[in-house]
């Protein structure tokens, strides 16, 4: 597969591993946060940590839109299915996320609810056209990568005059989440990890460009490298971060130049700006209420806003006793620091966001990384 296989080559991995080992200062620790779930996945799936020197550690960030979606919003989606009888179209990632009372969209479907897995917003539009007598709701989640496809669908729905289609909008923004993490006070004596550098999101950046990260590198004095999706990209980005740290620099660098530019995708950005606008504040699971961190549908497209079409019950955020997701999402603690990890909380029985999605820190760690060093390799 072109542009994929070349970036997974073992011979190049060994070269980069050697280069990184040569560049690290032996007495220094490098704690690098990979913001995105996709990077967490790549690191574990390919065993990238094994190729790193011992003083380079990955801190897993909250870049998993499934993980940060508050329970209340999933409750709303279930409510739409069970009480309003809509056809709810959702990406597969959301199906098993536990909401309150251990319910989920998958369980709602088992109970007779019309929950349909879709690959694309185009599928949701097709379902709406094929079922003119039913209300069809698209459960929109995701960061800036996934937002433009939602905007396109809403525009198309308006152009076609679809009266039975609406979007339940939960799109969130990356820069406010990065700020929230960088603003988290570090408490090293309580096991918190300092973050020395950030591996920036690959595909969010193809849309928003590398420019939005520049204020953070400046204000917080930490280097940010936009890292491609493949394991060699991750390694090269680690190398660039280490180099900056050794040189005392803190700039935004782009490793993923084959898909990311400083400006991003202006067409996609303009489309989003036409259909969606900032919410004053939005609740993130684990990160709390963040200002200007999420999007809602503009008045000009009010007809396609699920929240205006249906009455949705707000429900209070529920904390699970002992669950360390808030700290883990911020990189302040590790999965193994949580008392519930591997005991009450496992992928079969996830208690919090971090274990639910396979991108979440705890799930990724459980699936790929537990027992590292404890078992004969």
């Amino acid at each position: 597969m072109k542009y994929i296989d070349e970036f997974r080559r073992r011979d190049l991995a060994l070269k980069l591993a050697g280069a990184i080992a040569a560049e690290v200062e032996p007495s220094r620790r490098y704690n690098l946060m990979e913001f995105c779930g996709g990077h967490t996945h790549a690191i574990f799936r390919y065993g990238v940590q094994d190729l790193m020197p011992g003083n380079v550690r990955f801190v897993h960030g909250p870049g998993c839109p499934v993980c940060v979606l508050p329970i209340a919003r999933i409750d709303n989606a279930i409510e739409l299915v069970e009480r309003q009888g809509v056809i709810l179209c959702t990406y597969a990632d959301m199906l098993r996320v536990p909401a309150s009372g251990r319910r989920s969209l998958m369980k709602a479907r088992a109970g007779g609810g019309d929950v349909r897995m879709v690959y694309s917003t185009q599928d949701a539009l097709r379902i709406a056209r094929d079922n003119p007598g039913r209300q069809v709701v698209f459960f929109a989640i995701g960061f800036e990568t996934t937002t433009p496809p939602t905007a396109v669908a809403i525009q198309q729905a308006q152009a076609e005059g679809l009266t039975n289609f609406s979007v339940f909008c939960n799109h969130v923004l990356t820069p406010p989440a990065i700020r929230a993490i960088l603003e988290t006070p570090r408490e090293p004596d309580r096991g918190a990890l300092a973050i020395d550098g950030i591996l920036g999101p690959s595909h969010v950046s193809t849309v928003i460009g590398s420019r939005p990260y520049e204020p953070f590198a400046e204000a917080f004095g930490i280097p940010i490298v936009i890292a491609g999706f493949e394991p060699l990209d991750v390694m090269q980005s680690v190398r660039l971060l280490i180099r900056q740290l050794n040189q005392g620099r803190h700039a935004v660098e782009n490793e993923y130049t084959r898909a990311v530019t400083r400006d991003g995708n202006p067409k996609a950005q303009a489309l989003v700006a036409e259909v969606l606008e900032l919410r004053e504040t939005f609740e993130w699971r684990g990160l709390g209420w963040l200002p200007n961190s999420a999007l809602r549908i503009k008045d000009s497209f009010a007809d396609f806003d699920t929240e205006r079409r249906f009455e949705l019950t707000p429900s209070p955020e529920q904390d699970v006793k002992g669950c360390e997701c808030p700290a883990i999402l911020r990189g302040a603690k590790r999965p193994t620091d949580c008392k519930l990890f591997g005991k009450a909380c496992t992928p079969e029985n996830p208690m919090g966001a971090c274990m639910v999605s396979s991108e979440g820190s705890c799930a990724a760690y459980w699936t790929y990384g537990r027992f590292r060093g404890e078992s004969a390799a």
Partner: protein
């Protein structure tokens, strides 16, 4: 983060901004609504059924060269 895969544009239908892309023999219909100036033979990044961007062949080559150099340069900064 977001799963996006590079795929080759095999055919374009300008009437509805859709294209057929292929990845090692697997073909899928996707939307070009988010990109301009795409031609058959281009590689685009696919996410949830949409092309997000074109892949730059030149930049890809340069990136691979940087990786390959790594072994040669060693500790030289």
């Amino acid at each position: 983060m977001c799963l996006a895969i590079p795929a080759r544009v095999e055919s374009i239908d300008p009437s509805n901004a859709m294209a057929q892309v292929s990845l090692d023999g697997v073909r899928k219909e996707i939307s070009l609504a988010l990109v301009d100036d795409v031609a058959v033979g281009d590689y685009v990044l696919i996410h949830v059924g949409y092309a997000l961007n074109k892949i730059s062949e030149e930049e890809a080559q340069q990136t691979l060269e940087l990786f390959a150099e790594a072994g040669l340069l060693g500790a030289v900064n």
